[in-house]
């Protein structure tokens, strides 16, 4: 998948997700903002209530999207036959899209009424989504190959060196400046690899990286590089600094990511189990949507 196609691929997810959510909000705001005890008397109730034509449909479609999103991603990840079926990154993006928009639809299916056993499913879903966001945060901070294979520190250092070499060879950056970039994340010590310390470091490092990049840019300008050249050079320097940060946080991210799996998967299982119970009960009582 080319960069352009990937951009369209991800962009379409983004657009569909945002538009769908906006559509649901705009269409149902008046209804959803109505207190629960009065909502039945809202003119939109018959459509938007959980058992309504739209409301139940949102539940059905949202659930289906989540099931599909989980199933296809798990198959891609765990079934050998599909291990090389497309980039895992793209499947993850599809998984994130389906399992983000799906819960959004389910959220509107609940009409923001959370009660009964299905609420456990909902909150589990919420936990899964939120943990997914965290997971995504952690995931991007664990460098991998394009096939999703986790890179070792050695491999990362090689990549870092490659960045430095490109800065030196292709963009004629002097050693002093390259050292400034390479040591940008070394301004402080990460004493204990706790979550709080790591997050604090991330924030601090972000500001520091910007500061360093600004100084780097000035230096590049002083040596007479063109603006375009400066931008390209700064981009490589930025990648180099991010890589350095990730190498520095690699251990802690690995650790968090391991713990994250413990949260993300069980909540997903709980969500699905109760969701199926809910669907079973609902169907048993005759609420079959359009079927």
């Amino acid at each position: 998948m080319s960069k352009r196609v990937h951009a369209i691929y991800v962009g379409s997810f983004f657009i569909v997700g945002i538009l769908s959510t906006l559509l649901l909000v705009i269409n149902g705001y008046q209804y959803y903002a109505t207190p629960l005890v009065d909502r039945f008397f809202n003119p939109q109730n018959s459509l938007l209530e959980p058992s309504g034509l739209v409301g139940e449909g949102l539940g059905v479609v949202g659930s289906f999207m989540m099931i599909v999103g989980v199933v296809i991603y798990m198959i891609r990840k765990r079934v050998k036959a599909f291990l090389h079926f497309g980039y895992l990154k793209n499947w993850l993006e599809l998984h994130i899209f389906l399992c983000t928009l799906g819960p959004v639809l389910v959220l509107f299916h609940t009409s923001f009424k959370f009660g009964g056993i299905v609420a456990v499913s909902f909150w589990s879903m919420t936990a899964v989504v939120l943990s997914g966001v965290v997971g995504r945060f952690l995931y991007v901070r664990i460098p991998k190959t394009i096939q999703g294979q986790i890179l070792s520190v050695q491999e990362l250092n090689d990549i870092g060196r490659d960045f430095s070499r490109r800065l030196q060879a292709d963009h004629h950056v002097n050693d002093e400046l390259i050292r400034m970039i390479e040591t940008a994340s070394d301004y402080t010590k990460l004493k204990k690899e706790t979550l709080t310390n790591s997050l604090t470091f991330l924030v601090k490092d972000s500001f520091h990286m910007r500061k360093t990049l600004r100084a780097f840019g000035k230096e590049l300008k002083s040596i007479g590089l063109s603006r375009h050249e400066i931008r390209r050079t700064k981009r490589i320097a930025r990648s180099r600094m991010i890589l350095a940060r990730r190498i520095r946080l690699l251990n802690v991210m690995h650790r968090f990511f391991r713990h994250w799996h413990i949260v993300h998967l069980p909540f997903a299982i709980v969500m699905f189990v109760i969701m199926f119970i809910h669907i079973g009960v609902v169907f048993a009582f005759g609420y079959r949507w359009i079927f």
Binding site: G115, S124, I262, F267, I269, F285, G286
Partner: protein
């Protein structure tokens, strides 16, 4: 299993455990709490008390508990019995699982279509607040009476909410007279539908005039039912004091009391029965515009003008007209000849046959007083001055005439200087006493009638025997003739200047007295002047 995997499994198990414990502890399958009214149905075991597996919520489940609604549906009463409502699912209006505070019976009082209840709100009802009617005190059913805030249990009967001012006397169907806009007036009431249809002036009478208000059972009450109307008396004062009975409509109509039904009114029941021509007289001729007026009727002149101009008025009172007149016509009189004879002028003779107007009508006016009793008071003296006071004393004709006829005169001519002798006694009066005057008009003559024979008789002797008298030259006929015939009975030739002697005495008169013609008058000449023989005898 590696240590790492064991740890993961423990984590997963813990999450499951916590999740399901939480689920079982705080949650149920129910999508939300039931309302307070249905709170006793909470719990897994109660789901199917309302829900039917595979069929959501069926009405029969609801109605199995809500029997009062089922009863109303069975009776086809109320909102839920309306086909439009009955066809719906109960849950479409009475939804559940929205929390304890959810208003499961929700009325949008502004949009609720009360028509669906089978009792459309019209008029003032449409402006009322729901609770103005839907309150416990108006619920007659004990089943609903105890329900706080229920909308059930009201009757469509007006009396269930309204205290009937008629106190039950007019039945329960208030709507047959009243509408929902206002109690008064009872616009739907049609008096024509009652047993007493309003006609004529009754239509204009205020209700209260007949339907009196009173206080009954301590409350104001207007009587509408049971008003007596068999006749007019219960409402109308009998101005006739019962004289004509109680069936007023025999004479009166409802158009107006004073407008008498002429066809049915029997005036003969009054003090003044209408007899004869009075029966055909218009009521107003006597009563004027107010038929209820009681005109004087003791005297005819109370209504009638005295056509006799006071001729019969004595002491300012007209004598009884009935002495002469009847009600069958003014001209038809009952005044008899006998009654006339009691007066100053007895009718005799031809007077008996003379119509009244001949004497009493003059100048188109009747006169009865001071007409006079003399003939001349009525009759013209056709004789003028021909009759002397001797024969017409004080213009009294009875010297000659009687009332039998003018023609037969009972006059003794012998009282006159000209006694009727001989043939004269047989001659009609007219033969002598009527003459044509110079104008050719036949007039009577008495005083001016000359007693000489030539006045009446033609002198066939052409004056041969005329002698000079004071009144003129007249023949002295009596010398020869009598009144018995024209024969010269009294003539004695011997007393003449030429007495007959001898042969003369044997001769016929004509031998000597020859027919001569003098001045174209041919006559026998009796008076001879020449007595000489030769005058008759030739030689």
């Amino acid at each position: 299993m590696t240590t790492e995997k064991k740890g993961s499994f423990r984590y997963i198990s813990a999450v499951f455990l916590i999740t399901f414990m939480a689920a079982s502890a705080f949650a149920q399958i129910s999508p939300g709490p039931l309302t307070t009214a249905h709170a006793n149905l909470e719990g897994l075991s109660n789901c199917t008390k309302c829900h039917v597996l595979g069929k959501q919520v069926e009405n029969f489940k609801c109605l199995a508990c809500h029997t009062e609604i089922q009863d109303l549906i069975n009776q086809n009463r109320g909102y839920h019995a309306n086909p439009q409502v009955r066809s719906q699912n109960c849950a479409s209006c009475h939804s559940e699982h929205h929390g304890r505070q959810f208003e499961i019976i929700h009325f949008d009082t502004k949009s609720f279509d009360h028509t669906l209840t089978g009792y459309p709100l019209k008029g003032k009802h449409a402006t009322l607040q729901c609770r103005a009617c839907h309150q416990t005190k108006f619920i007659s059913s004990s089943e609903f009476e105890k329900r706080n805030g229920t909308y059930l249990g009201l009757s469509t009967s007006c009396s269930s909410c309204h205290e009937g001012p008629h106190q039950g006397t007019l039945g329960e169907d208030c709507a047959s007279c009243h509408n929902e806009n206002s109690f008064k007036p009872a616009t739907k009431f049609k008096h024509d539908k009652t047993e007493f249809t309003l006609t004529g002036a009754h239509k204009k009478v205020e209700c209260a005039k007949c339907h009196v208000s009173e206080v009954r059972n301590g409350k104001p009450f207007t009587q509408f039912a049971g008003v007596k109307f068999e006749n007019c008396v219960p409402c109308h004062r009998d101005l006739h004091n019962g004289k004509f009975g109680e069936i007023c409509e025999k004479c009166h109509t409802t158009v107006s009391f004073t407008l008498i039904e002429a066809k049915t009114f029997n005036h003969n029941l009054t003090d003044y029965p209408l007899i004869g021509m009075h029966a055909d007289v218009s009521c107003r001729n006597c009563h004027g515009d107010n038929l209820n007026s009681r005109p004087k009727h003791a005297l005819c002149t109370d209504c009638h003008k005295d056509a006799h101009h006071g001729d019969f008025t004595v002491n300012n009172v007209v004598e009884n007209c009935a002495d002469c007149h009847t009600v069958y016509g003014f001209k038809l009189t009952t005044f008899t000849i006998a009654m006339h004879d009691k007066g100053k002028f007895r009718l005799t003779g031809s007077h008996l046959a003379v119509p009244c107007e001949s004497c009493h009508l003059s100048s188109n006016s009747w006169h009865f007083k001071n007409l006079g009793t003399q003939c001349i008071d009525c009759h013209k003296n056709v004789h003028g001055t021909e009759l002397t006071e001797e024969f017409l004393p004080n213009d009294n004709c009875t010297s000659c005439h009687t009332t039998a006829t003018w023609d037969k005169v009972a006059f003794d001519h012998n009282k006159t200087s000209f006694k009727l002798l001989g043939k004269h006694a047989d001659v009609s009066c007219r033969s002598c006493h009527y003459r044509k005057n110079s104008a050719g008009v036949e007039v009577s003559v008495f005083r001016s009638l000359n007693p000489h024979c030539e006045t009446c008789h033609r002198d066939i002797h052409f004056g041969q025997f005329a002698v000079q008298t004071k009144g003129g030259k007249f023949s002295e006929c009596q010398n020869c003739h009598t009144f018995n015939n024209w024969s010269p009975t009294n003539f004695d030739h011997q007393k003449t200047k030429f007495p007959l002697t001898g042969a003369h005495a044997k001769l016929a008169c004509i031998e000597c007295h020859k027919e001569v013609t003098v001045n174209e008058n041919t006559f026998i000449q009796y008076k001879l002047k020449d007595f000489r023989c030769a005058a008759c005898h030739s030689s």
